[in-house]
């Protein structure tokens, strides 16, 4: 998340593996670091990194600043320019001096603003150390001009950001009326889609050693799960996205349903999103399948093909003679959908199926809840009523409902050995949350870094979670009702799981924060567009860099040192509000007073390093010993000296 920052490593950015100078990094960037980790100063950050140095609060709160000797810091300072370190193909668009930034934590700061086609860069040289604010423009949700008729002739602009903060700047009234304010320039580049420009991800030319677009391959992922098998087959019926344009081209369906029938099922499901396999239990063959709501309507329409199809899903699992249909919505909403032609499966029509409503609210409720949460945490927190204020946002309650739903699904599949069908209305928001979370609980593969990437690529990206609409990349229409923090909510749920099972995940908190930061940054192509079809049409994999290229090129940054590969362990989290916490490291990270006090990760890393070092030493010595004993005991066969066993490792 560090922004690469520093000018002096400008020339060296060809390869991602290079090591930018530690000093420059920690000086300019680090600090803010958004993430809860404060221990990362000394490591190389690929330039691609991210944003969010944000309120970098001048380092006064960043512990790592003090590690380095003063002398070297000084050298850097002299070489400082007022420009940010630019990414490949990033170009400066405008620059203005004497801009005031009203930091809610440190007060007003005067400095220089640089706008590029990727970022806003504010630098205040008055402070010691220099205060830097480095903001990818993709984060900006709206720019508003505030009180232009200020007495001193100042023009003030407010930037509402998608990542839980607001920024306020002001500058003097421009004498030259023809000249555009720098914030007008900002608006142009912050909303490229609305201004007929290209999102920066298409220009970003960084080359990483690994190609993240190769992380996910649908066929091999199904193969990993054992598909095709005697009950499930892979169909190419949607190869040209004719069956369903929001689904991926590769789908796994029951063996005994021919492609022709799939088309008839698609006619009965909203947007043609038929039930398809997400995950299959390796032993019981119980499955998680996802779809959209049935088009029942007010008249209670039925579809023989759909009923047969669900029966086939149930029959594919010999362990159970029941099928659970989890409707993510509250039952009232599900019923209301009948007015629009949708609805839910009636238990009369679907024999042996049991319908369960999970009471998760829609995207509009979630958006409102997050807005309230932002009010409560940014910029100021009211200590005396903190808990009740937090309660009134209902954010944790929503998190709880989602986790509880996923838990029920996982429990049905694991303990009940029963197949489940999950849907909401369209099957791309709440359904994605539920299936991916339950798969995370059920399958330890998804708890590795690469596995998690596969999970996102599969359940979210390929199955058409509408990232473009939900996030509004480069779009100035901030009131768009399609925007909603569905994906943030999902990552929050994952974080809650990592809190309850600290050793079960290969990735750390920084990994999750990085994903969320690049969800907005528009630096990588991963989260662009709404569906696989669109991504293919836009040639996203060809024209942009994948976030996974960046992440997989420096895995050590994102690795949880405590990871234990509990393979075949199913996680059943406690979903009571008593055991859920607010993700302070993400939602309140801009508040410098919330910074964690201790680099705990650092200690764990040291422990790991120590172990690796000792292990190496033991290996060496044992090899020596073995060699010597082999030479001395060649005549004594089967002597127990060979019993030297390497010490087991578990991380």
């Amino acid at each position: 998340m560090e922004k690469s920052g520093s000018v002096d490593s400008l020339g060296s950015k060809r390869s991602s593996s290079r090591q930018p100078s530690v000093d420059s990094l920690s000086r300019l960037s680090s600090t803010s670091t958004s993430t809860s980790r404060s221990d990362r100063s000394g490591q190389a950050k690929p330039p691609s990194a991210m944003s969010s140095d944000s309120v970098s609060t001048s380092a006064e709160f960043s512990p790592e600043l003090r590690v380095k000797p003063k002398a070297s810091a000084k050298v850097i300072r002299e070489s400082d320019k007022e420009e940010p370190q630019l990414l490949p193909n990033e170009t400066v668009q405008d620059m203005a001096q004497d801009i005031t930034y009203f930091c809610p934590f440190t007060g007003a700061l005067r400095g220089t603003v640089t706008i590029t086609n990727y970022r806003l860069f504010f630098k205040c040289m008055d402070r010691e150390p220099t205060f830097v604010l480095d903001l990818p423009l993709g984060v900006v949700s709206r720019v508003e001009k505030i009180g232009s008729a200020s007495s001193r002739g100042d023009v003030s602009y407010g930037l509402v950001c998608k990542d839980m903060r607001n920024l306020r700047f002001a500058h003097k009234q421009l004498e030259d009326t023809l000249r555009k304010s720098i914030f007008e320039v900002l608006m142009k580049f912050a909303f490229p889609v609305s201004n007929g420009l290209q999102i920066f991800a298409f220009e970003y030319g960084q080359v990483f050693p690994e190609n993240g677009w190769k992380v996910y391959d649908a066929v091999s992922e199904y193969k990993r799960q054992g598909i095709p098998n005697e009950s499930w087959r892979i169909t190419k019926v949607n190869d040209h996205y004719e069956l369903c344009d929001t689904y991926p081209s590769t789908l796994a369906v029951p063996v005994n349903i021919p492609d022709e029938e799939l088309k008839r099922v698609a006619a009965f499901r909203a947007k043609g999103r038929i039930p398809v396999l997400s995950w299959i239990h390796p032993e019981s063959q119980a499955t998680v399948t996802r779809c959209s709501q049935p088009m029942v309507g007010v008249n209670g329409k039925r579809s023989k093909e759909d009923e047969k199809y669900l029966q086939a899903i149930m029959d594919a699992n010999a362990q159970s003679h029941k099928l659970f249909i989890f409707d993510a919505r509250p039952s009232v909403n599900a019923a209301a959908n009948k007015m629009k032609g949708g609805g839910y499966e009636s238990e009369d029509a679907y024999q042996n199926a049991e319908l369960v409503f999970l009471d998760i609210h829609n995207i509009h409720v979630m958006r409102e809840s997050l807005r309230k949460l932002k009010d409560v945490v940014y910029p100021n927190i009211e200590d005396s009523h903190w808990l009740s204020n937090l309660e009134s946002t209902h954010w944790l309650e929503h998190i709880k409902l989602i986790l509880a739903g996923a838990l029920r699904i996982a429990d049905k599949v694991e303990s009940g050995k029963t197949s489940v069908v999950v849907h909401c209305s369209d099957g791309w928001d709440r359904t994605a949350q539920l299936t991916s979370l339950s798969m995370l609980m059920l399958d330890s593969y998804y708890r590795t870094i690469r596995g998690f990437e596969v999970l996102l690529e599969k359940e979210w990206l390929s199955f058409g979670h509408r990232f473009q609409l939900r996030i509004g990349h480069g779009d100035k229409n901030h009131t768009d009702a399609d925007r909603s923090p569905v994906f943030i909510q999902f990552i929050d749920c994952v974080w809650q799981l990592t809190r309850q099972f600290p050793a079960a995940f290969e990735f750390n908190e920084y990994f999750l924060v990085t994903i969320l930061d690049h969800l907005y940054s528009c630096l990588f192509g991963t989260f662009l567009c709404n569906s696989e079809q669109q991504r293919l049409k836009e040639e996203i994999p060809k024209r942009t860099v994948s976030l996974w290229s960046y992440i997989n090129s420096q895995l050590e940054e994102f690795t949880n040192p405590l990871y234990v590969n509990y393979s075949n362990h199913v996680l059943f989290p406690v979903v009571s509000l008593r055991h859920l916490e607010l993700w302070v490291g993400y939602y309140i990270r801009w508040n410098p007073r919330m910074r964690p006090q201790e680099p705990v990760h650092q200690r764990h890393k040291e422990l790991l390093a120590k172990r690796a070092e000792l292990q190496k030493r033991v290996d060496e010595l044992q090899r020596e010993v073995t060699n010597r004993s082999a030479s001395s005991s060649s005549e004594r066969a089967g002597s127990p000296t060979r019993s030297i066993t390497p010490v087991q490792t578990f991380v």
Binding site: S58, A59, E60, F61, P63, E64, R66, V67, K68, G107, R127, E128, P129, V377, I381, E382, S384, W386, L387, E391, L407, S415, F501, L562, Y563, V564, H569, V570, V574, L577, R578, H579, L582, V584, N591, P592, R593, M594, P596, Q597, E598, P599, R603, L608, R611, L614, V618, L621, Q622, V625, R636, S639, P640, T641, I644, T645, P646, V647, Q648, V651
Partner: protein, 820 residues
């Protein structure tokens, strides 16, 4: 001592074999204390037993279920897992096993039937066969046992009754007798050696040691209160200014409530002293009786003022208490989940924790300024003063963040200072008015600090939890008295078990002791309560590394420049009373009108320059503004001063709830419990174990290879070792072979086993004659953790606290030396 227990013993309900067994217990065969796999304490007898019971494991224990046998004795409810290892008859008695709960800490017994839940009291009758037995404990544990269909109904009902009756009807004394009253137990306890590595603050030399540790040269230990004549609630030794003579001192007691004169507690390395005192007896105004506090600048900080009132606080606690309770019962009264946060907020528990921490942080910052004295004044000086003064020391003194240092701190600021443990805990349930969880509040504050600065503590939250739970066990001399005087009265006829030889002891109150009372151990004798593996978790596996740079949190202006007040006017006296400044002449009210010189200096001290300095300090706490000066002055300054206070973040989202303590066993939350990762120790622990194993291996391998490393000497060596081999049946090839042999099963054993290290204890059957190297490896099995404590080490805890691990070359011997 068994006659007393007979009265509650229902012979006819016992299974005959148990009865038989019990009788044999009372008879000669006391050596084998194993009853149905339950290792009884000497004299302990099993009242009831139920087989095929499953215990629900908490998240910490790995969740899921554990099946075994449930017992009820006069002292405890014990649970023995099915495949638990055979107890070793020669081992020292442990009061409570890992799955046991003392009857005295059971608050409520609830049974769950097929469709109902019932609170069981001694008089209630059960009309159904319970399926589940839930024990709600006073230490907030909730323990849940599930009966199997195969458990005989009679057993289920009887054990439920027995637990309910014995838990409710037993007095504190009978409970003590059940646990410690037997001859063997008394014998055993009187032979215990107490830990000499911690400071008990019982003798004058203990206090002198502390003075020396802190470098407090201008103070001395006075034994003026040796017979508790000056103050009944103070300890026998108090620390007073060097210059004050005992004769002068004696006159000052009358000026303070309960005779609790200002006394020294701790000295900050920058030369600031922390004092404690009770409020003034304001009826006496006498000039010559002050103890010359004015030799050092003196801040009086009224510790009591930051809390509304103690009784009010008690109310809060019981709110919070009942809340957690209710949350645990899945009955109609439980707090709905969606109201949890606001309900929690309404208990104000976190507010109280916060205000304690805030007050302590202020004091810590004042002390850090250097060369001034902060005196904590509270009406009685026995509650909040204890909390604040000990918190200040935990924040500022790394020694107090080690287990032994912390124990010493509790001895100094709570036990010796006369905190009314007995009344505040209210063991006898006879004085609810006095009951207040002051000590628990302190533990919660320490936990908050720990959770924000885990690596700056050598002790762990497990230690805090163990201490928290021990409070509810009325067995420890530490908690069973209101003052040191009471403790001395009780223990003085018990020989010198836990107290050093002292001439006064024998003549003190020779008539007040009850010879039938069992001797009470101090709580710090952890082996009585916890197994070795559990105790190992009381300390960090790896010594904390001192941070190289100050970690500033922005809460507080810690810039020393802003409050270097006393440096300029060393003799000045400030009075901060009840949160506001007042005329420093009030400091020693009886002095008013006399000694114009002093008055003058006081006046000068009040100059507007200085007082706002403190106000700025306090204002900074309001978090309204960032300290501007921080950036320039707190740059790289080399290694951090270890005495730099740990200032906690006190914003709402930073105050955590001690879930591991208060929400243990929130049963309803675990709707789907499955054995997820049962018996996996904490990953850090395993990592530490693994590092230790590697170090051990390294030590073993290197001890053999080191002498042979030069290739030139390898040849003769080898013949030598081969000779050695032949004497050992030729099984092994060279000296390191035995350790290797033991290493193989070690590596083969699952790394998850908790008592892994201890299992290495017995040497293999084919053990060669012991060599020094072997001895070392054998010795190291005590040290599960890399830099953990070992009772054998002579090193001071501080030295262990900041080791220089990198300098360690291949360690050859056991754990303690690894630490250096």
């Amino acid at each position: 001592m068994l006659t007393g227990s007979k009265t509650t013993f229902k012979v006819r309900q016992m299974l005959p074999d148990i009865k038989e067994r019990m009788l044999s217990q009372t008879g000669l065969n006391a050596r084998s204390r194993d009853v149905f796999g339950l290792r009884c304490l000497p004299g302990e007898c099993v009242l009831q037993r139920a087989v095929m019971v499953r215990k629900k494991l908490t998240a910490r224990e790995g969740r899921g279920w554990l099946s075994g046998t449930l017992f009820c004795t006069h002292f405890r409810v014990a649970f023995v897992p099915q495949d638990s290892p055979k107890p070793d008859d020669n081992a020292d008695p442990v009061l409570l096993g890992d799955h046991d709960v003392a009857l005295a800490s059971i608050e409520k017994v609830v049974v769950v039937g097929p469709n109902r839940t019932k609170l069981v009291t001694p008089s209630s009758s059960l009309k159904f066969t319970p399926e589940e037995l839930v024990l709600y404990c006073r230490d907030m544990r909730v323990i849940c046992f599930l009966f199997d269909r195969l458990t005989p109904d009679a057993q289920v009902i009887e054990i439920t009754y027995t637990i309910a009756k014995t838990a409710k009807s037993g007095s504190v004394l009978s409970f003590q007798n059940a646990a410690l009253g037997s001859v063997e137990m008394k014998q055993f306890l009187s032979n215990r050696h107490r830990d000499t590595h911690m400071n008990w603050f019982e003798s004058a030399s203990d206090w002198e040691q502390e003075l020396e540790r802190c470098g407090a040269m201008s103070w001395r230990v006075s034994s003026v209160n040796d017979r508790f004549e000056m103050s009944t609630s103070l300890s026998r030794f108090i620390v007073v200014p060097q210059k004050v003579l005992d004769t002068e001192l004696k006159k000052s007691f009358a000026h303070f409530n309960e005779g609790r004169i200002p006394r020294w507690c701790w000295r900050h390395p920058r030369g600031s002293d922390l004092l404690r005192m009770a409020s003034f007896q304001n009826n006496i105004y006498h000039e010559k009786d002050d103890i010359r506090c004015e030799h050092v600048g003196c801040f009086l900080l009224d510790a009591g003022a930051c809390f509304r009132h103690l009784s009010e606080m008690t109310q809060t606690w019981s709110d919070a208490f009942s809340l957690f309770r209710l949350a645990d019962i899945s009955t109609s009264v439980s707090v709905p989940d969606d109201k949890w946060l606001s309900t929690l907020e309404n208990t104000h528990w976190l507010d109280y924790t916060r205000s304690c921490l805030r007050k302590a942080s202020e004091v810590a910052c004042l002390l850090r300024g250097g060369h001034l004295t902060v005196a904590l004044q509270e009406a009685e000086d026995r509650d909040m003063s204890c909390v604040v003064s000990s918190l200040v020391q935990v924040m500022c003194d790394p020694h107090c963040r080690t287990q032994l240092g912390f124990q010493g701190l509790v001895q100094k600021e709570w036990v010796m200072a006369g905190h009314r443990f007995c009344s505040r805990i209210n063991y006898r349930r006879d004085n609810d008015k006095e009951e207040a969880p002051v000590f628990q509040l302190f533990l919660d504050c320490v936990w908050q600090l720990w959770s924000q600065y885990p690596s700056r503590f050598q002790l762990t939250d497990e230690f805090l939890l163990a201490l928290h739970d021990s409070i509810q066990l009325p067995l420890f001399s530490t908690f069973l008295a209101n003052s040191q005087r009471e403790r001395c009265k009780r223990s003085q006829n018990l020989g010198q078990t836990y107290t050093p030889v002292n001439g006064w002891r024998d003549v003190l109150h020779p008539d007040s002791s009850d010879p039938s009372d069992p001797p009470l151990p101090p709580v710090w004798d952890w082996s009585l309560q916890y197994s070795k593996p559990t105790q190992d978790r009381f300390t960090q596996p790896v010594a904390p590394t001192p941070p190289l740079q100050p970690l500033l949190n922005g809460n507080l202006n810690t810039n020393p420049d802003t409050h270097r007040l006393a440096d300029t006017i060393p003799g000045s006296v400030f009075l901060l009373s009840r949160g506001t400044f007042s005329c420093p002449a009030n400091l020693l009210p009886w002095r008013s009108g006399s000694s114009g010189v002093y008055k003058k200096s006081h006046r000068r001290a009040l100059s507007s320059e200085n007082v706002p300095g403190l106000e700025r300090l306090l204002k900074a706490w309001a978090l309204t503004d960032f300290p501007q000066a921080l950036t320039s002055t707190s740059g790289p300054q080399g290694p951090l001063d270890p005495y730099e206070p740990l200032l906690p973040l006190l914003m709402g989202p930073c105050m955590g709830l001690w879930r591991e303590c208060y929400l243990r066993g929130a049963l309803h939350a675990q709707a789907f419990s499955h054995p997820v990762s049962a018996n996996h120790p904490h990953p850090v622990e395993r990592l530490a174990q693994e590092v230790q194993q590697l170090k051990d291996k390294l030590a073993q391998v290197s001890s053999s290879t080191d002498p042979t490393t030069p290739t030139a000497t390898a040849e003769p060596r080898r013949t030598d070792t081969n000779l050695n081999q032949n004497t050992n049946n030729g099984t092994f090839l060279f000296p390191s072979s035995r350790p290797q042999g033991s290493g193989a099963p070690r590596a083969a054993a699952p790394p998850t086993s908790t008592n892994h290290q201890t299992s290495r204890g017995p040497p293999p059957a084919s053990a060669p004659p012991s060599r020094p190297a072997h001895k070392d490896t054998g010795g190291s099995n005590k040290h599960t953790f890399l830099f953990g404590h070992s009772s054998g080490t002579e090193a001071r805890p501080e030295q262990r606290y900041y080791p220089a691990p990198n300098s360690a070359k291949l360690p050859k011997s056991n754990g303690p030396s690894l630490a250096s």
